[in-house]
Amino acid sequence: MELLKIENLTKIFGGLVAVDHLSFSVKKGQIYGIIGPNGAGKTTVFNCLTGIYKPEEGTVIWKGKDITNYPPDKIANLGIVRTFQTIRLFSDMCVAENIMSGRNQISKQHWYHGLIHTPFSKRDEKKNWLKVKEIMELMNLQDYATELTKNLPYGHQRRVEIARALATEPELIVLDEPAAGLNGHETLDLTNLIFKLRDMGFTILLIEHDMNLVMNVTDYITVVNFGEKICEGTPEIVQNDPAVIEAYLGKEDADDEGDEDEN
């Protein structure tokens, strides 16, 4: 079943076509990768998908519904939640408070509960905090619950961001270069985490530079360069595609590739 379908997506910045009639679709339960050289337009795709940019052309279809020009919060509430390439946490707040932000729209509190607490709002509050606790345990963050996120190491910040995304109870998690800045050990943890998330039933859409990670975890990959799709398929297919190799290594290297593509 197609969960997310992107058709003919085009985004132009001042004459520069950042995304050029790009189409792909993500099935439920998939781990879907988008790769491409830096500046290829991958993040722009995510920004269009999550409502931050308005695309010039094309549609974003979520479970059969056109959500193309929805604002980011509405899209998030439909079950698409993302992380950012440059981590965007609420840096002055603690880990638990950051994760709690994901519960904000799930909470049943009305605006007046902000002024007058009722037994209902207190219950609701406790319920959501307990959910946060659950997520912190899942993500191994409980030791840092009251630590301000700006004081955490990079790897932990990544985990908090993913935890915050999980807290919104999404169906599709969009990860924008989750391994950027992680060391080998942390990347390994991340790999396991992504599998774990898939096993829990989340669908995952991923942009990543770390080829090891991408090739390891994804089921299906779209390769983008200059906003255009140059190849798609399973990791095996993608890895052996001459267009991909060219995009990554440049033409002058093409003659070297023979001895490296052993598979």
Binding site: P37, G181, N183, G184, G250, D253, E260, N263
Partner: protein, 245 residues
């Protein structure tokens, strides 16, 4: 390896942003007239290294020695006149200023603009000459990169620091830029280049350092590094590889 004296030597350099340490004590050497590449993934500390050399970031501890000057103790604007010029990541051209004025700004530390040098830059990147009266912000990514490099050449540097010159550029442009870097190097300018495009960088350079989350994990001759399995794996992943870097 060159036999001359070391031009730039970094000793046990540590840098941190608040509680996050970006460089955990790196050491490296650059000899006159060579091209040295620093490669590594996003967030490894490459840019931090360059920005610390240029004086934009304060070092926590360690030394950066350049021809007898201790750079960690000198403010950024006094480092440029010593002969170190940087083309920064993201190019940072002055968007609302014309191309030519960007180049003039590059020569700021010389007090007088060397027009012969400007001609040389135009020869290196003819595209810039065509657009010299255009606002830098209206240039394409590749042209901006050319401008950033050209600008950093205007102060007649002895050493050029290049931060990700290939970022976001089409292969053909990358080729053009790298060719230009080679050309610059031939003029006797020492080049320290930071790149994610490891292969291209190593092909260009004499020596290379591999940086990973704030530590140098590998260094040596570029040709050897290029052949190293580890490097290959890190930058063009292999399917079903169980062992990570």
């Amino acid at each position: 390896m060159k036999t001359k004296d070391v031009l730039l030597e970094i000793k046990d350099l540590k840098v941190s942003y608040g509680h996050i340490s970006a460089l955990k004590g790196i050491s490296l050497k650059v000899y006159p007239s060579e091209i040295v590449a620093i490669i590594g993934s996003n967030g490894a500390g490459k840019t931090t290294t360059l920005r610390t050399i240029s004086g934009l970031i304060k070092a926590q501890s360690g030394e950066i020695n350049y021809r007898g000057h201790e750079l960690t103790k000198i403010p950024a604007h006094k480092i440029v006149p010593l002969g170190i010029s940087q083309s920064p990541e993201g190019r940072l051209v002055f968007g609302t200023i014309t191309v030519e004025n960007n180049l003039k700004l590059g020569a700021y530390s010389l007090k007088k603009i060397d027009y012969a040098r400007m001609e040389w830059v135009y020869e290196l990147f003819p595209r810039l000459k065509e657009r010299k009266n255009q606002l830098a912000g209206t240039l394409s990514g590749g042209e901006q990169q050319m401008l950033a490099i050209g600008r950093s050449l205007m102060c007649n540097p002895e050493m050029l620091l290049l931060d990700e010159p290939s970022l976001g550029l089409a292969p053909i442009l990358v080729k053009l830029i790298f060719k230009a870097i080679k050309e610059i190097s031939k003029q006797g300018v020492t080049v320290l280049i930071v790149e994610q495009n490891a292969r291209a960088a190593l092909r260009l350079s004499d020596r290379g350092y591999v940086l990973e989350v704030g530590n140098i994990v590998e260094y040596g001759n570029s040709e050897e590094l290029l052949k190293s399995k580890k490097i290959q794996e890190a930058y063009l992943g292999k399917k079903k590889q169980n062992q990570l870097i």
